[in-house]
């Protein structure tokens, strides 16, 4: 048995980390946001930044005592860093000796772990990482004779027996720490007399073979301290993260007292569900510690005056949908046992701020939409995926409105009809053919396709009306079904299918004309993969959440490097993306504009599947791609178009992200021109009601709107020459 104890290592679930925040001059992060990032990592504000995990504010500067940190590629010792922020964000970083630092990172946030089926999760701590107060407090409260007894405390047991006999049932443990360890480690916690005897015998055997220090450390890493869904919180290392969001070494007296209080009944004294009970027991622990001289009476009193200090939400913060994606990525390469037991560290690209923005926006908007559409038994559901388009790194995944619930992950598993999200890929195929550009007039008129078996397919526009001749840019902006089907049939289903497959569609869609209106089932994550290529200038990057896997020995086991594959020319993608900007300015994305900063250029496309079963919005800025799906789990009609359901969620996420404009360089072979939106005729401000800017191949012949007074060929246009003249004039003044 002692052999078993010795031989069996702790099962060490793989620990999963978010992306570390990179700090550098120019990072658009306000002082308040910086402080928020530090608080998220459990840093506390102090008079002096003298202990790792603390920071101090002095005027516009913030001095932080960084903890030692392990990243995927290196370890960094504890270090002090002074950060100066200004109106535009972070202005400078200096080390303890005042030298400028070009780039530094905060340690990555622990976001969870991959624990085994039976749910046991822990962060193992070494004796050096344990504040000395903790073992002292455990002994004082749970086992006063720990240092001298031989594994059991007969007097204590007798006292417990007496209590139990009097009560007619087992009420009191009277167990030593060693017995508690045995029970947790080897036995179930069912209390029968024979089991108690076996437990006592085993405790004595352990005591004979191991030092008290080893047993104490084993206890600190083993004992059960809470439950989070199907995850069991074992050991003080994880409990410290779970309840306080910071390392055990940084716990103060009142926090240690609370953890010791929880030992007696993690469910009964759960500080989040029963704060009064937990507080009363914590204060009792503090009183015991003072009585036994472990701490001074004054310190105990001061600690008893402090609030519980528990974070609102369990930290090690547990983003189930994101972790689900991480787990699936890793299962391709690792056995379940390696993930749950081998102490791996997994570094991901999760951006906690983006994740929280996405969770918040979905929760809030779905609550609002539910009120608009009463009468359905179950609440609306939704999913959000956020990526960094240039790398394909996934920043956030929300799998449903109950973000803490580790259940059906809609972002990965809800395969729903993509609806009009397919249209950009049809128009991209059209631009590639060389026969269409944004100004090409196409026919929005009734379509009748004969299908096999003499049936007919007669799609309709959303408005049940046709619009006749419309420019391509308007057909896409307003998501006109008939015009799109016309273009798609002209190009051919195989050609459109090829485009979708190049951009990352996994399964070829059924070759029926209805695929042109999005009768193609995709998950929100798959939709994000498709749109990521549009957001990335025609380069496909496989969406990835895992950056690296590091073994318990600190060696990199696997990296998931950045890959790009050209899948369409930057010229064609620029033309298409420019039209997706016009979706936001003139078309179905317009109602989202009001929620976004006016100067922010974004591109997007709504999607509504038949009978309003699925409401989609997918779109991007320069630095973020966001895909939102809203619908019912039972596939019932929602009554919402993509613009009414998913768009407000999308726009809120985009607005919260603090993102940058879509602004790729205009390819040399293209020109940007203004068209009259309704007709597609070239026009100028003042000679048309609504103008739209499009990109077309330079030299494309475009019909002009009669009555527009275009400047004669060969003359310079309005602004530039004036600016140039002004510059010449200025030069003349400076250098006469």
């Amino acid at each position: 048995m002692t052999h078993q104890f010795e031989g069996r290592r702790w099962t060490l679930p793989a620990q999963v980390y978010a992306a570390p925040l990179e700090l550098y001059a120019g990072l658009p992060l306000t002082a308040a946001q910086l402080e928020g990032e530090l608080k998220r990592l459990g840093y506390h504000r102090a008079e002096q930044a003298d202990r790792p995990g603390s920071y101090r504010l002095s005027g516009p500067a913030l001095e932080v005592a960084l903890r030692p940190a392990r990243f995927a590629d290196e370890s960094r010792p504890a270090a002090n860093l002074t950060l100066a922020t200004g109106a535009k964000g972070l202005e400078s970083l200096r080390d303890a000796s005042g030298h400028e630092v070009a780039v530094a990172r905060l340690e990555p946030l622990l976001i969870g772990s991959i624990f085994p089926i039976h749910g046991e999760d822990r962060i193992v701590v070494t004796p050096e990482e344990v504040p000395p107060l903790l073992p002292a407090a455990l002994k004082a409260v749970e086992d006063r004779k720990f240092d001298t007894h031989h594994g059991v405390d007969p007097l204590g047991m007798l006292r417990a027996l007496w209590v139990n006999v009097r009560a007619g049932q087992i009420e009191q443990g009277g167990s030593t720490l060693t017995q508690q360890l045995v029970r947790s480690y080897f036995l179930s916690s069912r209390q029968t007399l024979s089991r108690k005897l076996r437990e006592a015998a085993m405790a004595m055997a352990l005591d004979a073979h191991f030092t008290k220090a080893d047993l104490m450390n084993a206890y600190i890493n083993e004992i059960f301290l809470g439950q989070d869904g199907d995850r069991a919180i074992h050991g003080f290392g994880l409990a410290s993260e779970f309840y306080f969001g910071k390392p055990l070494a940084e716990e103060n007296l009142s926090e240690i007292a609370l953890l010791v209080a929880i030992v007696r009944g993690p469910s009964y004294y759960d500080p989040r569900r029963h704060p009064e009970r937990a507080r009363a027991r914590r204060d009792l622990v503090l009183k015991l510690l003072a009585e036994q001289g472990v701490v001074s009476a004054a310190d105990a009193r001061a600690a008893a005056g402090r609030p519980l200090g528990v974070t609102a939400r369990p930290s090690g913060t547990y983003y189930p949908a994101y972790l689900d994606f991480v787990r699936r990525t890793l299962r391709r390469d690792y056995a379940e046992d390696d993930l749950t037991k081998a102490g791996l560290r997994i570094y991901t690209s999760l951006d906690p701020r983006a994740q929280e923005d996405a969770e918040g926006a979905l929760e809030k908007e779905l609550a609002r939409l539910d009120k608009l559409h009463k009468g359905h038994a179950e609440p609306l559901e939704g999913a959000v995926v956020v990526t960094a388009p240039q790398s394909g790194e996934v920043s956030a995944i929300v799998g449903g409105r109950d973000v803490g619930y580790d259940g059906f992950d809609r972002a990965l598993d809800a395969r729903r009809s993509m609806g009009s999200l397919v249209k950009p890929f049809i128009y991209l195929t059209a631009l590639e053919s060389g026969r269409y550009n944004a100004a090409t007039v196409i026919q929005d008129e009734p379509v009748d396709v004969k299908l096999a078996g003499g049936r007919h397919w007669r799609p309709e526009n959303f408005t049940h009306q046709s619009n006749g001749p419309v420019p391509l840019v308007r057909a896409l902006s307003e998501s006109l079904n008939l015009a799109t089907v016309g273009v798609g049939l002209d190009l051919g289903l195989p050609k459109v299918t090829q485009t979708l497959e190049r951009f990352g569609l996994a399964q070829p869609p059924e070759q029926v004309p209805a695929m042109l209106l999005g009768a193609i089932d995709v998950s929100p994550l798959e939709a994000a993969q498709l749109f990521n290529g549009l957001a990335n200038g025609g380069f496909r990057s496989p969406l990835r959440a895992v950056r690296a896997v590091i073994g318990a020995d600190g060696k990199a086991l696997k990296a998931f490097p950045l890959e790009v594959t050209p899948v369409a020319t930057p010229e064609v993608v620029y033309q298409l993306d420019r039209m997706l900007v016009s979706v936001m300015e003139h078309g179905t994305g317009r109602s989202g504009r009001a929620l976004l900063p006016p100067q922010l250029t974004v591109a997007g496309k709504s999607g509504t599947s038949s009978e309003y079963r699925d409401s989609w919005f997918a779109g991007f800025s320069g630095s973020h791609l966001v895909v939102v799906w809203v619908g019912y789990d039972d596939n019932a009609p929602t009554g919402f178009t993509g613009s009414a359901g998913a768009l407000p969620v999308w726009a809120h996420v985009m607005a919260d992200l603090g993102t940058s404009s879509w602004a790729p360089p205009l390819p040399d072979s293209l020109a940007e021109v203004q068209l009259e939106y309704s007709s597609g005729l070239r026009a100028l401000p003042g000679c048309a009601d609504e103008l739209v800017t499009v990109a077309v191949p330079a030299g494309a012949s475009l019909p002009a709107k009669p009555g527009c007074n275009f400047p004669p060929a060969g003359t310079a246009q309005e602004g530039p020459s004036l600016r140039e003249r002004a510059e010449q004039w200025l030069k003349g003044l400076v250098h006469p």
Partner: protein, 187 residues
Amino acid sequence: MRSMRLGTVTGVLAATLTLSACTLMQPSPSFPHPAPPAAGSPSGSAQPAPATPAPETPGTLTAPPERPPAPVPRQFHLSAASGALVSQAHAQAGSGDPVAAAATLERALRIEPENPLLWIELGRVRLNANNPSQADAMGRKALSLATGDPAAQASAWRLIADSLRARGRNGEAAEAESHAEHLAAAR
């Protein structure tokens, strides 16, 4: 009329199928001319430039570009943060650790994803790690971002040329090399 034409979907499909060889994987081989920077681009602000003369016929206008090709060059630089990371990556590559070098360059790319110089650096690491197809792709990614910076465009073409040569595609490599030389000369 339309429904009649659409009625023969299968015929249309068959016809387009034969035309559907995937020809769009390569960027346009046309010679890239410098162009003004895009609004909000990382270096240099958008500066409108004089329009090129456009031929005009009554009723029809050839689109005179509103952001036309014009000799307003820009030059990409590394920010202080990316510069420090690129130096670190060079040291890592020099000590025989291309995996670490690539990871460090990815850090820099997260800070400046639209800087073509970083894509070229990462492409070079991939090429040295015997991954010429990714090196080629990163060269093309850099090229798409480097509009207006002939120096950056030239080094992107050189990366592409080397990647092609590593795969034995010497003819295409020579063509890419000549793009690079042309650009370097045009500076």
